[in-house]
């Protein structure tokens, strides 16, 4: 195994000016407006919405449509650390740091001026990718800039965004490179999505899918129901997983939980510029939202030990007050396995699968109570945990694939997180 690879991150800033970018390539964030229009992420939440007002000023002035939403993602490479902090990973890794892994990934560049995007985001990608939250009826303009893979100057891979599950998709915006287009290094492609279905979706890069997905280009994406903010049924929170018509998918708090894993042999081969072991792919770092336990319950954004970038920003800690209905937006992007999850001690009510409510509007008869949900890659489930009558305390959401409750050689880790119920 290469000894010095984890020091490369420190050398990188020197090389930035040398990286070759194709002539004519341009970073070009598209958020179309009418004449005299403008846009800005006024509240700094990483997404620009025409109907968000800050001090009376909309984030998009003179938008093309009233529900216009704009976002700028970047794609490239970076580093993260696994959760096996108690193990010694050799002299190149600081004590107390988990095993470093080289990743390909996404980051959120919304608000960064075009001319600064490449320099600001090279080698600064995140795993899991930034969560995309939109609402039913939003028209999303999603720009994707490929900042290149700095640690792999031999690669000229394009990247894409595949909005997984988007209904009645078009090839041009599907993000599948074989049937459409993907964006080359140094340039920007803007996707357009008319979000008409609420639910729990996924997004990921589909270029050389087996490689780019294993390397970490995976993220949560969900669409809030148009019923939100209206009183339907007995829903006090006025938040609904779907347009249920009767409030039966009412929830108080929601948490996306994305299943994925890393195969260190694959990631190490990638940074060492070795042939990639597809056939033997074995995810022995199982994770929720890009972290293994106990990092799953650490609410801080985590910096990686290679270049210090905050590259793991999403935790999986679930907190609620007794009596709350918790909506788990569960998705799997495992490239190797099928997983079963359980919320031990709290009944799981499945109300949706693959971004569709179970059963017709106004009819809750097809929901079912269970102790486990099983997902292969590419599936999603909407599970409501009703904590009525559940004593306050700490419960666990974990994979019953018991060999996935570890961070490689460190036991008591992996695909596990906590549900903390306050009285």
């Amino acid at each position: 195994m290469s000894c010095k690879k984890w020091l490369y991150g420190l050398l990188l800033p020197v090389l930035l000016g040398v990286a070759a970018v194709p002539a004519g390539a341009e970073v070009y964030f598209q958020c179309p407006t009418g004449p005299g229009g403008s846009f800005a992420d006024l509240n700094g939440d990483g997404i620009i919405r025409a109907d968000t007002l800050v001090l009376g000023v909309p984030e998009i002035v003179n938008p093309v449509t009233p529900r216009q939403v704009c976002m700028h993602l970047v794609a490239g490479d970076g580093f993260v650390n696994m959760a096996d902090k108690t193990l010694d990973h050799g002299p190149e890794v600081p004590a107390g740091a988990g095993y470093p892994q080289y990743i390909f990934g996404f980051a959120n560049a919304t608000g960064t001026p075009n001319a600064q995007v490449m320099a600001a985001f090279m080698l600064r990608m995140e795993f899991s990718a930034p969560t995309i939250r939109v609402r039913e009826g939003d028209q999303l303009y999603l720009s994707l800039t490929n900042v290149g893979m700095v640690m792999r100057p031999d690669l000229f891979d394009p990247h894409s965004v595949h909005y997984h599950g988007f209904p009645n998709a078009s090839s041009i915006f599907d993000g599948l490179p074989e049937s459409g287009i993907a964006i080359n290094m140094g340039s920007t492609l803007t996707y357009f999505y008319n979000n008409v279905e609420p639910g729990t979706f996924i997004y990921h890069c589909h270029v050389e899918a087996a490689e780019h997905m294993q390397m970490g280009m995976l993220g949560n994406l969900y669409v809030a129901s148009a019923q939100d903010g209206t009183a339907v049924g007995a829903c006090a929170s006025q938040l609904y997983a779907y347009d249920d018509g009767d409030g039966s998918t009412c929830y108080d708090v929601d948490y996306p939980i994305q299943i994925a894993g890393f195969d260190p042999a694959f990631h190490d081969a990638s940074i060492s510029i070795q042939p990639l072991p597809f056939a033997e792919m074995d995810d022995i770092y199982p994770m929720f939202n890009g972290r293994g336990y106990p990092d799953t319950v650490n609410i801080a954004q985590l910096a990686n030990s290679v270049n210090g970038n905050l590259s793991q920003k999403i935790n999986s800690l679930i907190t609620a007050t007794s009596g709350d209905r918790i909506l788990l937006r569960i998705s799997s992007l495992s490239t190797t396995s099928i997983h079963t999850l359980t919320a031990q001690g709290i009944p799981m009510l499945v109300v949706g699968k693959d971004a569709r409510k179970l059963g017709p509007v106004g009819d809750a008869s097809q929901y079912f109570l269970t102790n486990t949900v099983t997902l292969g890659g590419g599936e999603t489930y909407d599970v409501i945990l009703d904590t009525t009558g559940v004593p306050a305390g700490t419960y666990f959401l974990y994979s019953t694939n018991l060999n996935h409750l570890n961070n490689r050689n460190e036991e008591y880790g992996g695909m596990m997180t906590e549900i903390v119920i306050a009285p």
Partner: protein, 550 residues
């Protein structure tokens, strides 16, 4: 003719280049599952080589229909039989180990041969076994060897069994399309909830090369099926991109079955999915959700099939609306079906392009100035109705009772107003684009004169169409040199239009359809023996309307 709405898609009879899509060859993509339509089958078993897409081959054992010219094949011949009619399968054996056939889900009587653990077996050297059964339910099933199945199914002794509903004419039944009650459609289970335009088989398997090498070397007794690991994955016996080659391709003599699903907008596609190996495979369809209508040959419904046609406006019993038409009421809408080993799944898939928010035909390519004035294709007119009030300059739109249920009720959507004689299928000016938001079951609040169209003076009886026809393309695409193209990219974002591509690019999509990959989402399975891409993937192509799929 006043239409309540368009329920089913349409097709005309223009022959498709798609049938000879990629590489020519004697066969072609078929809109019906390719197999042996009979009630009696004479099978034997022998060995051969399957070609894997990394360029090598794997030794396999397979079933061989002695009544056709196809040699031993992987998977075994797809048996297509009819419900309630006796089926007889005889089996002889040219391998050097006993073999047999079991038919999960069927009540089988076996005679001849010698007794085995699960069923009667054919010994090496041709002692014949006869299996008889009468399928009591239509649907999708599988058959495989009942002898040492851990090894023999791995080696390739598996195939599909399709049972067609009893009494259904080959051309189908009438009444499934309310817009055209005389139109005949085939069904999977005997009534319109399971009606389809085209059906395709997806028999999913995997192979561990080490096992096949050891068997080929005569080391069968040393094979450990407990720790073998799959390195090659197949749909209908072929790893991508061979899945895209035609049926009976001459260069794949032992792998006769293709997997290239095709349709036009609004067509209903029946996916017959079989988990025929020993691993789970989450099969994901790009393009849209599909409705799983049956599992293991049983309809997901509170009422079985066949149900009689209802008298409108009564809805079809035990059904719910699908993308197009209706499906059984307990159908599960999915974008990924996690197939279990030994399980079968029937699903209905349809693509309409509804609510994309832009004209996916790109009609401005043909109409110079006013894209809205261009002639529309019927397949993009998703709901066609008339105004039920005098709109004038107001903002309240009313449609005839019941039509509102066909339109979105939870978010704003786009519609086009046109004069009473203008149904949008011919070029005309004076149309208005409105954004409608439901305010009641059949009433909407309109944002008038959207997209720069002119506000008109409309009255009862004028046409209102839910459509994205004429909606401009929403973004500026980067220059070609900043893009990487796929071989299925036509050069244009629009259906039916090809664009200029750099030399050597594209070429796999001569009809300029929309291609969507249907594949296992365990991405590791998109490889052939460590070589990416390959394995468990294929493409579904939405062809321009009017292309004949055969």
């Amino acid at each position: 003719m006043r239409r309540i709405g368009t329920i089913f898609g349409r097709r005309a009879g223009i022959p498709a280049l798609a049938a000879a899509l990629l590489l020519g060859g004697a066969g072609s993509a078929s809109a019906r599952v390719v197999g042996v339509e009979s009630q009696t089958f004479a099978l034997t078993t022998s060995s051969g080589k399957v070609t894997t897409s990394d360029g090598s081959g794997l030794f396999f054992w397979g079933y061989d229909n002695t009544n056709d010219t196809i040699p031993v094949q992987y998977p075994g011949p797809t048996m297509i039989v009819v419900e309630d009619t006796p089926v007889t399968v005889t089996l002889t054996n040219q391998l050097d180990t006993p073999v047999s056939i079991v038919f999960p889900g069927q009540d089988v009587t076996a005679t001849g041969g010698t007794p085995g653990l699960l069923t009667r077996e054919a010994l090496p050297g041709g002692t014949e076994v006869t299996y008889t059964f009468t399928p009591a339910e239509p649907g999708t099933y599988l058959y495989h060897s009942g002898t040492d199945p851990a090894l023999q199914v791995e080696m390739g002794l598996v195939g599909a069994l399709i049972v067609r509903p009893a009494g259904e004419p080959a051309a189908g039944i009438a009444g499934c399309d309310p817009a055209d009650p005389a139109r005949l459609m085939r069904t999977a289970y005997g009534d319109c909830r399971t009606a389809y335009d085209y059906e395709f088989l997806f028999l999913l398997t995997e192979m561990s090369p080490k096992v096949h090498e050891m068997v080929e070397l005569g080391l069968r007794n040393q094979v450990k099926t407990t720790d073998s690991m799959a390195f090659s994955w197949f749909i209908n016996g072929r790893g991508a991109p061979d899945t895209l080659s035609p049926d009976l391709a001459g260069w794949l003599p032992n792998q006769p079955y293709s997997c290239l699903p095709l349709a036009t907008p609004g067509d209903r596609v029946l996916q017959r999915v079989i988990g025929a190996g020993r691993d789970q495979h989450p099969l994901h369809a790009h393009g849209n959700n599909f409705d799983i209508i049956a599992r293991d040959g049983r309809l997901l419904s509170t009422l079985p099939a066949p149900q009689p046609l209802p008298i409108p406006p009564d809805p079809f019993p035990a059904s719910r609306r699908a993308e197009i038409g209706v499906v059984p009421d307990l159908s599960l809408s999915s974008f990924t079906v996690s197939t279990l080993p030994g399980a079968t799944y029937d699903s209905i898939f349809a693509w309409t392009g509804k609510e994309l928010g832009w004209d996916f035909f790109g009609h401005n390519l043909v109409a110079a100035a006013d894209i809205l004035a261009a002639a529309a294709d019927p397949s993009e007119l998703h709901v066609r109705t008339t105004l039920d009030n005098d709109l004038g300059g107001g903002i309240t739109v009313t449609v005839p009772a019941g039509v509102g249920a066909l339109m979105p009720s939870t978010h704003a959507f786009r519609a086009v107003l046109s004069a009473a004689g203008d149904d949008l299928t011919t070029a005309a000016t004076g149309r208005e684009v409105v954004m409608l938001t439901a305010s009641g079951p059949d009433t909407f609040t309109a944002v008038r004169a959207a997209e720069g169209s002119a506000e008109g003076n409309w009255s009862t009886g004028d046409n209102l169409t839910m459509t994205d026809h004429g909606a401009p393309f929403p973004v500026v695409l980067p220059d070609n040199k900043d893009l990487t193209f796929g071989q299925f990219y036509s050069g244009s974002p629009f259906l039916g239009s090809a664009g200029v591509l750099p030399p050597g690019e594209g070429g796999f999509n001569p009809n300029a359809g929309f291609a969507f990959m249907w594949h296992s989402h365990t991405e590791k399975e998109l490889t052939n023996n460590n070589v990416f891409p390959g394995g468990l993937m294929t493409f579904f192509i939405v062809l321009p309307p009017g292309t004949l799929v055969e």
